[in-house]
Amino acid sequence: MTVRPGLMALALALGTSPAAAQTMRPFATFRQMHGETRLGARLEYAAGSLRIAPGQPAELYRMDLSYDEDRFVPLSDFDVTRGSVLLGLRAAGDAGVRVVSRNQLQQVASVAFSPRVDLALDLMLGAVDAAVDLGGLRVSTLDLKTGASRSVVRFSQPNLTRCRSAHFSAGAAELTVIGLGNSRCDEIEFEGGVGRVTLDFSGSGTSSARVQVKMAVGELTLRLPRNAGVRIAMDRFLSRFAPAGLVLRGNEFVSPGYDRSQRKLDLDLTTAMGGVNVEWVE
């Protein structure tokens, strides 16, 4: 009789089955180059970490993805008539994205575009940790919308074509844009809700740019190149501005030698609460 409890315990021990595990699923997509000269790429990425970089010239685009198949579905759809592609990761169903654990953020995506085509890039990022390097690509337009994300956009090399406009829109986010001088963008626009934003205008570009910044609450850091003439028009409310190295001329702050500079940066800043810092870079 005394053996029975032991047998029962052993049976329970052997019968303990492992719980069903959640699955992270690899997905990959690419398209060979077939003489395309332009590509409109829209990347929707709901949650996880994202890396964008130049890819192989023979491939129009490529996306390697590891995603949570219980909550998300991968996107990959090329429209031949428009020459555009939709890539990314969307929440399964219509319930939106709910970040319930850190495991959910372990999704990883790596996206690459061919440096041979003019790229109109449209990024929509959710709860994302993004590292975007557009240096060496031919970016004709750039539109970045981020939610609660931490994003670093970098132009590590000069843009191979002229960029008409770059538009950044951030919600409650930390956004750093480095090397805007390499972007060769004529118009740069930023709209921010709450967060910390760094706009770095360094780079080897010589073209002038008009920059419009609208910031609600948060801290904005402007890294300005010393070789450029800078003019800042401020419209601020309950926010501080440290115009280091700038002189007040009328209602605007300008850098010494602004009128003589070949490369001009004209910034219109609208801020509500927070602060605007100015740093100078070589």
Binding site: A9, A19, R25, A28, Q32, P74, S76
Partner: protein
């Protein structure tokens, strides 16, 4: 005793037989190696109890799949998960005889090769085999549990989708998109899943180690608190003992109001403009105070439990060497840890383990809430209002000094005495 010696012998045999190379090359002088070896033994025994079952995939004889069933459209592969769900449900539905119709195309099972001189029109589905393309396929190509290899000179004019396979482009031409949806590997298990996979013995060890770690941590914190803040700890402890219900209600309200208070603090600082600079500091201080109140309150509850238990034993005549706060705290923490020790022992049992966990959590929450409330009531042990230490005035009367213990009642004159007069 005999069983124990047999178990030791078994462990010794297992440890000696498993890793002879490691035994020769690695010196076993450190305790870390011993622990490592111990876990290796446990892992080996566990793997023998729960062997991995990887079913071998049978080779499928190459042939065309007979037509039948609901036609499947492979013209749109832009939603690979939907295509996969549709295909797999169709393939799994059959009972031995597989029948499948691809709208405007072909379906095959087993390895399939499209020769260099062949020109195939329509979409192609290959199930349980690889697709080697040397020729020309004018349509989409889908494989289920197989690879796609496009050889030099091979052409696929449409999209390529592999479900559970890979695409190897060896110099061919693919006109459309290439999508690869691989089989889902097991994700790195989260803590709960890992615990679910452990054997009961491992589970008990792991949970026991966790409980022991928390117990030792609380002991260290508690002894530090006794050493540097005994007065405050005792006041909070007395508040728990003397006003438990009041402390619990206060703790409950404190938990409810914690987040709104934090929100008001943040919003208030933001709206005050100048205060926005203080926001990080305020957030850190708020978090620190909350943690101190919760942990300190919990330790105070342990102190109160230990003190009550020790005093009752002393009242029964048990001789206790040093009845001080260190002992109270240790005894109380042992009592609190005992409920979690029960969970550590029986947590692996289905259903009952969850119930034990729930009970342990509830008890801990109950006492933690009371401790948190006591910390709030006593202002972290500064105010003694609810600690039962401030005696009412009527309790301070002394019948030897005063004729009557009652306040406000005129004292009666004793016979034969006279009222003392000042200055006489």
């Amino acid at each position: 005793m005999r069983t124990f010696s047999r178990l030791l012998l078994l462990l010794a045999l297992l440890s000696g037989g498993q890793r002879p190379v490691a035994a020769e090359t690695r010196p076993r002088s450190s305790a870390g190696d011993l622990v490592d070896q111990f876990w290796t033994i446990i892992t080996d025994v566990s793997s023998r109890l729960h062997p991995q079952r990887e079913p071998a995939k049978p080779r499928v004889r190459p042939q065309a799949i007979p037509q039948g069933g609901t036609p499947i459209d492979l013209s749109d592969l832009s939603r690979p998960t939907i295509v996969e769900a549709r295909l797999r449900s169709t393939l799994e539905r059959d009972d031995g005889t597989r029948r499948l119709t691809v709208a405007g195309g072909n379906a095959r099972q087993g390895d399939f090769s499209l020769g260099s001189s062949e020109d195939l029109k329509g979409n192609l589905l290959v199930v349980d085999g690889d697709a080697d393309v040397y020729g020309s396929l004018r349509g989409n190509l889908v494989t289920v549990d197989g690879d796609v290899v496009v050889h030099p000179g091979g052409v696929v004019s449409g999209d390529v989708l592999t479900l559970g396979g890979k695409v190897r482009d060896e110099g061919g031409e693919i006109g459309g998109e290439v999508r690869t949806l691989q089989s889902a590997p097991r994700k790195a298990p989260v803590a709960g899943e890992a615990a679910a996979r452990l054997s009961p013995f491992e589970s008990v060890l792991r949970r026991g180690a966790g409980v022991l770690g928390v117990f030792l941590t609380l002991c260290a914190l508690g002894f530090g608190l006794v050493m540097f803040g005994r007065q405050n700890l005792e006041v909070v402890s007395d508040t728990v003992s003397h006003s438990f219900g009041r402390a619990f209600v206060t703790g409950l309200l404190g938990q409810i109001l914690l987040l709104p208070t934090f929100g008001m603090l943040v919003v208030g600082l933001i709206l005050s403009v100048a205060g926005i600079l203080l926001l990080p500091f305020a957030v850190a201080v708020f978090a620190m105070l909350t943690v101190i109140a919760v942990v300190g309150g919990y330790l105070a509850v342990a102190h109160a439990m230990g003190e009550t238990y020790t005093r009752r034993r002393m009242a029964l005549g048990v001789v206790i060497g040093s009845a001080n706060s260190y002992r109270y705290l240790l005894v109380g923490l042992l009592g609190l840890a005992s409920v979690w020790a029960a969970w550590a022992l029986f947590g692996w049992v289905p259903i009952a383990g969850s119930i034990v966990w729930g009970a342990a959590f509830f008890v801990s929450w109950l006492l933690g809430t009371a401790g948190f409330g006591a910390a709030l009531l006593s202002r972290a042990g500064i105010k003694e209002n609810f600690a039962g230490r401030l005696l009412p005035p009527e309790a301070l009367t002394d019948e030897y000094l005063w004729a009557t213990p009652q306040f406000g009642v005129p004292a009666g004159r004793r016979p034969g005495t006279r009222t003392p007069t000042r200055g006489t």
